[in-house]
Amino acid sequence: MGIVTRRGLIRRLGAGALGGAAVLSGRGLALAQEHSDMTGGQHSDMSQPGQLGHGAGSLGAVGTVDHGRNGFDPTKILTDFDYGETSKDRSGRTVHEYDFLALDKEIEVAPGVFFPAWTYNGRVPAPTIRATEGDRIRIKLVNASAHNHTIHTHGIHPAGMDGVPGAGEVAPGEEFVYDFIAEPFGTHLYHCHSLPLAQHIHRGLYGALIIDPKKGRPDAHEMVMVMNAFDTNFDGSNEVYAINTVAFHYMNDPIKINAGELQRAHVINITEFDPLNSIHIHANFFHLYRTGTSLEPDEFTDTISMGQAERHMIEFTYREPGRFMFHAHQTEFVELGWMSSFEVS
């Protein structure tokens, strides 16, 4: 007689459980304060009920990420555009020079969850390279990690500057300078192209490459949102989804924007293992500029899906102050960290 062998058979008898039913309302259970013993009293804003339209209740990670220890802060990454060391060459062309260091580094991707990342300059996503169409970009990559790496940019450049095995791959302890002209204008990206490819990308070797049109664009509050994910247990599916690495970061620290001000977000999908990621903004619509390669919008929508390495520029304006969510509309990703919010004032 026992638990193990008979349970399957017993269940089939199925004549009304002794225990009785429990259907729970389950929203905003006031237990947020209880985990002070493990998190030093910090907890996510989401555990305070009634703040957000979706009734997030107790969804969310417990505790906070130590950005100081990580060496980067997603809030700062959002608006951190790196023009490099700029100078003019003999022809009068603007040159942007960057020093990149490939570095193995453990980073905190959700509170208390550490991931053995491979990084450029110790941060994930790597620095957002920004230049104007026709400028010259020179990136010196020094490899201080344990594996071969490259910088493969999405743009138009000579074969020798492609950053693939056989063309600009850098062995540990060595270096290489990627030298190319910034074209075409748009929202682009770069990533490591060493093999095995999925491993080199997923471990954190990627960043945004933004090339502005010569004519310029209207003034706006600009942001970089790299949609990424981490397979923390290395089973081929992700445990953490985010924009700019840290799960639920922009829920705990909402992005502060102004009502009436044009917002321009460069949204880049580098999610590994899932065929699609997406972005949906609440209570608003955005103008979509596919790959940012046009000055006229392609579409007016509130949700857009992207495969890996697809990226778009989106523009929107919030009319009224308030708190507005934005997130993937693969809701599975939402609950695994890709949930964010704007604080419009």
Binding site: M1, G2, I3, V4, T5, R6, R7, L9, I10, R11, L13, G14, A15, G16, A17, L18, G19, G20, A21, A22, V23, L24, S25, G26, R27, L29, L31, A32, E34, H35, D37, M38, H43, S44, M46, S47, G57, S58, L59, G60, A61, V62, G63, A110, P111, G112, V113, F114, F115, F230, T232, N233, F234, E239, A247, F248, E332, E335, L336, G337
Partner: protein
């Protein structure tokens, strides 16, 4: 030669016995302080957590966890059905074998599966699948009463009914008496196999570091040795100073059988209680009837040794006591299973039950071999009948 003897005589025996203990203490000290094998452990830590108990409450889920691996584990996040969820822990850092209670205020749904994944600081996920979520009964007067009633139905009452075979056994001739004793034997062999099988499965379900098989074996050997000691004591009382005498008397044997069956029934109660509490089972009429039929034959087994002609008729309170010894543990088991279940304790309890039944088998076997009961005309038939009765009635409770 002489000098060596003289030399070793100077050191007291207790001191020489202490030498290896001091040496092993020194070794432990060296390993803890110097850690000479540290260079061998550059690989990631082995993280394992055993889910000892899962409690579904009105406002969430409580998990009782134990670090079941060689390395410390820090629980960083909790996923419920693939969503990060708020939680609190009595201690999120679990050293080797340490325990922690986790509370997750999750709006679980009755009757649906729940998947809980703990994410450790290294990003490892440790999953726990609950097939059917159901409110875990709280130990209060009402639920204790329900479980007691359950124990009464499947344990106490059937055994008491079985005892009512005593008058007919008294009148049965020796051939039929042997039949019933052999039947008892067959029945107990069935229970022994059943108990061992369950105990071994529970051992496998026990956290690896707690070594369920050893707990099961400890329970079994403890029961055998304990009952052997009890038997010697009973005999000593019966025969006065005549120690070393064999076979116990009919009434003592009846008590031993009742005790063994009682321990088995405790395991039975434990299993049913745990299955009900974790929503693994629904309490159908058929299930209760199956157990009742199954256990009625146990009553017959208890009174079989009292039917022998040379036995005096025991007073009525003995029957009440025999019924209580065999039946009441079902209630205790149901309570334990329902409100304090853990595979480690269950493995130990099933070990005790298996040991007790084995010991009782030995007793009856010895008593029967004395008058060649088992090889008599109806002996083998009785044995097979006993086994078959348990098998067939067991089908109803399966």
């Amino acid at each position: 030669m002489a000098t060596i003897t003289a030399g070793s005589r100077r050191i007291p025996t207790w001191l020489t016995g202490l030498v290896p203990i001091v040496a092993i203490a020194a070794l432990v000290f060296v390993f803890l302080v110097v850690n000479p094998i540290a260079t061998l452990r550059e690989i990631p830590p082995v993280e394992a957590i055993a889910f000892e108990r899962t409690i579904f409450q009105e406002n969430g889920i409580e998990l009782q966890l134990r670090n079941d691996g060689p390395d410390p584990v820090r629980i960083a996040q909790v996923l419920v059905n693939d969503a990060y969820w708020d939680f609190s822990a009595t201690d999120a850092n679990l050293g080797r074998l340490e325990t922690s209670d986790l509370r997750i205020p999750y709006p679980w749904e009755d009757g649906m599966p729940v998947n809980i994944a703990l994410i450790t600081s290294t990003g490892v996920t440790i999953e726990h699948e609950v097939e059917v979520a159901a409110l875990t009964p709280e130990p209060n007067a009402s639920t204790l009463g329900i479980y007691a009633l359950l124990g009464l139905y499947i344990g106490v009452i059937p055994v008491a009914i079985g005892l009512m075979w005593f008058p007919s056994l008294r009148r049965a001739d020796k051939r039929w008496l042997n039949f019933f004793l052999a039947l008892t034997l067959g029945l107990l062999v069935f229970l022994l196999i059943d108990t061992v099988a369950e105990g071994l499965e529970l051992s496998a379900a026990t956290p690896a570091t707690l070594n369920g098989l050893s707990l099961f074996a400890l329970g079994a050997l403890g029961a055998v040795l304990g009952l052997m000691a009890l038997e010697v004591k009973l005999n000593a009382r019966r025969h006065g100073a005549q120690t070393g005498s064999t076979a116990v008397g009919g009434l003592a044997l009846a008590y031993l059988i009742a005790g063994g069956i009682g321990l088995h029934n405790m395991g039975e109660g434990l299993a049913v209680g745990a299955a009900l509490a974790t929503g693994e089972t629904a309490l159908g009429t058929f299930l209760v009837l199956g157990f009742a039929l199954h256990n009625t034959t146990e009553g017959l087994a208890i009174v079989a040794p009292l039917g022998r002609a040379n036995e005096q008729r025991p007073s009525l309170w003995h029957f009440a006591a025999l019924g209580a010894v065999a039946g009441v543990p079902t209630i205790l088991g149901a309570w334990l299973g329902g409100f304090a279940y853990s595979p480690a304790w269950a493995a130990l309890a099933f070990g005790v039950a298996a040991g007790a039944i084995a010991q009782v088998l030995w007793q009856i076997g010895r008593a029967m071999s004395k008058d060649r009961g088992l090889t008599s005309k109806l002996g083998p038939a009785g044995f097979i009948a006993g086994f078959m009765v348990m098998y067939v009635t067991g089908l109803f409770a399966a």
